[in-house]
Symmetry: D2
């Protein structure tokens, strides 16, 4: 095997690496129609890890990313030998498309499912900081909170419907591809707007707040306590912890990573659009329009 | 009874008129806490019908609205006498709110359910005219069609979920209020954008096409046939029929009526936003955010 | 001459008809590389007028469109003879592109200029009806009014800049093509959103209000006066006149005509996008990015 | 003097600190109606600097932020003595509003002016990476580039118009407040959308690319060169430098800082909306609408 794959996530944490085709292939591509599974320590298999987002160690300023980091690698096969008993596909190009499609269908459903806690956290953080900033009754704040709730809940309901409207093949439930892709596109194409609303409600302290050391130093803490306390008795520390969580989720390298993931991981915006158009029953829709005409 | 109600739809087609409070009332409002049901021909009951949208008789230029028109009235009660056995509420102000809310909950669910065929028709018409205009493979056309499909299907899936996530009280299923309102808001706040995309795909002939008489006159028909025929053998008449249907749905007074209905009927945009924010479990969302902080 | 042109506006009101190519041509298209000018009553020249939007005669319900209607025709040349002294181009295909482009450049600037009063009228009507409906101080109303103002003024400022940043050739000022197209795209891609906001502020009476006859009849007028009067002493008639103007501009066939014009007349959305990308100085922008890299 | 001000930018780099009121004051607030100027090393003046965004030292991974960082402080006045000859306002509450407004008017114009290079850099980077990724001719890529160009140029044109439509008072040009605020609102409310488009064009490597060390190590460089090179002979290093610049601008803490600045610095979204509505000539707009009615 010779080749490479960019952004393979958390591979260094795994024991075995599965490799499958990424798209439909024709007979002339048959050399690429391979699928196999090998241990990570196989000779010739190289992982070049990305340093992106590493190194934030303060649980105060980076409450989420200080403890969570997905390792991304450029994974290289430099003349890797794969034993026959680990080979699943070896030139059978007709199976490349179905295999790739099957993976995508399940993986994109996984994607919208695992994003729900992130969206809930954005909504919950927005509600919390609006309260701690003492602005939760302002009309424009309520408008933005409603937008965030509607966004998160629309993704949730579409995700549920994708599962409810599944088909069952050989005892395995396959979520509804069209609905999965509509959910993913809704999630992805509105994510940056959601970040804007959360940052809007949180305020500039997201990127200008004092650091951990200043809260531990009584000389500076007294000023922080006096001037940065929140609404209804919320301490400066509590409010700054909320702000730092939002900063970590939306303005840190972890936040940037999540934003890029939203539009690229588990399928790009354009891949989702293509799938929606392909999966929609266009003939029925046109027939319905024709039936009104006559 | 003395008072009036604007835009009461299809009342002249009914036999009986139900009247209920429209909102929460307090003790000082108790004179308004009335509910009753009377025949339409009761003395003192007046209906002033709107002439809006009347008078399009050609099934060619107005294939939908020539046969469909909801009558809207200003309904006036000019000292109307209501017999005791038709009275359901007579000053019991505590029941005004619950009664109004119950009506709205059911009515708004009806609203999103009955809009689905309209949205399907917009999608089907867009697919059909894109094909007849010979542009269905253009990249920007596919983008707009995908937007329309995603819009219609999102409203459909949210509507289904509102029913699936119902609660059952005394054997009666009550759809999920939060989801109903998210569906309605999604429908309403994107409807004009949908009109834009459909009109964009259809083209200027929506508002500049020849009329019925010119298709019946061989002298003009020969030019129309030569120059306005559609892609892949679609006749000028077929294409103009499709265009006229889209014009009727999006640029006629019927189209304008549907657009205003989208944002005002069965609750305004702002009423939907208020309901979403109120129905969302804010405490749980904030607790989830707090749980990540500690 | 043989051929046809769809949606030629107000041609029946003209004395002479100018004909020019609509796009770049190659040598093989040279038979289409013609430009000329002929009187409207030339033999073989036919105009098939569109009946769209005709017939609203009440200045009460249709204050604008009852007196204003652009006649649109399918204009057909059925073996029309053009005398030599009215011919400007006769096969010189190299001039087709420049001639078409020159026309478009001037015409699209005209387009954004003549739309400004329409946008001002939408803003003014929205402000007026918000006041007459007594809602002008509500936070969401102010938000929507601000959106409308920003929209109209952005188109105005871009239009002015297109003129200010002109180039002068042979004493003739040519507006800045890039800015013209950005202005036109901004106008066109937000017009339906503007309609939504105006309709939102006006309310359902746009499509359910009593007609002219009911205001002339004292029996019905007394109810209309009692129940449909506006805020701060505005009479029902005054308020209904404002509502009817907005209805005429946004929900009548005239309103539909304006909406389709916004996205199709004087260049489609896609034509504007192509022009913007082509007119932008991409090389300088890329060089600036490269200069930051090194 | 006693009090504090959050996010005072680059104060530690200054010699003198100017203090002015931030809003209109009434007589009861007269103790807050102060304006003065003092050296930064005055006793009792404390600056608590934010650690946000510090510590990226690689010019390879962080080409912009490794060399640029605005220091933000919580600036505290702990019983600071201000000599009489540095005092400009001392209880004259009538001047608080005008002084604050004057500052905001100039400062918000500065804001939109200094954002233009950032927007140009986003556009230039997007054009460059589209080319290096070999996707610049794809239809959806051209659509997104056109959006970015229109966005940046609209802000530029509005900024220019704000200067052109200035008023001159005592020889000092004051930019047009309404236009300034429309420009700022357009910039701020579309900035996150711009980030989405740039990230969309750049791809997932923004947050998964190899680091500087791996490019210096021949063992890993050979793989990077083989698999990550760009279109038309662009080396892997060149492409990664472009990607890292975009990552620095849009997904790093510097990128997060810029995003928060967009919506909070020099006035929030809501402050801009209030100003636009206040500065617009509502009476003329309503009169124009009235003139059409009669």
């Amino acid at each position: 095997m010779r080749g490479a794959k960019v952004h393979t996530s958390v591979t260094p944490n795994a024991n075995e690496l599965f490799v499958i085709p990424t798209r439909n292939l024709t007979e002339t591509d048959k050399d690429y129609a391979v699928a196999f599974c090998i241990p990570l320590n196989t000779a010739g298999l190289k992982m070049i890890a990305s340093p992106y987002g590493r190194g934030h160690e303060s649980t105060f300023t980076h409450p989420v990313s200080s403890g969570h980091k997905m390792m991304e690698t450029l994974t290289v096969f430099d003349d890797v030998f794969v034993p026959n008993d680990r080979v699943f596909l070896n030139g059978e190009w007709q199976f490349a498309g179905p295999l790739a499609k099957t993976f995508v269908e399940f993986h994109r459903f996984t994607a919208i499912s695992y994003k729900l806690p992130l969206l809930d956290l954005l909504v919950g953080s927005a509600l919390l900081i609006a309260e701690q900033n003492g602005i939760e009754k302002a009309s424009h704040v309520r408008e933005k909170l409603t937008w965030l709730i509607s966004y998160a809940q629309t993704v949730r309901m579409l995700t549920k419907m994708a599962a409810i409207e599944c088909t069952v093949k050989d005892g395995i439930a396959i979520s509804n591809t069209q609905v999965v892709n509509i959910a993913k596109l809704h999630f992805a194409s509105n994510y940056h707007q959601a970040l804007m609303h959360v940052q809007d409600l949180a305020g500039g302290l997201l990127v200008t707040a004092p650091g951990e050391g200043d809260l531990k130093n009584p000389e500076t803490l007294k000023y922080i306590d006096r001037y940065l306390g929140g609404s209804s008795g919320v301490s400066a520390e509590q409010r700054l912890r909320t702000l730092n969580m939002i900063s970590d989720l939306t303005t840190s390298e972890f936040g940037g990573y999540q934003a890029v993931l939203a539009i690229h991981a588990e399928g790009s915006l354009e891949a989702e659009k293509l799938t929606i158009l392909r999966e929609y029953d266009q003939a029925s829709a046109k027939n319905y329009a024709r039936s009104i005409l006559t």
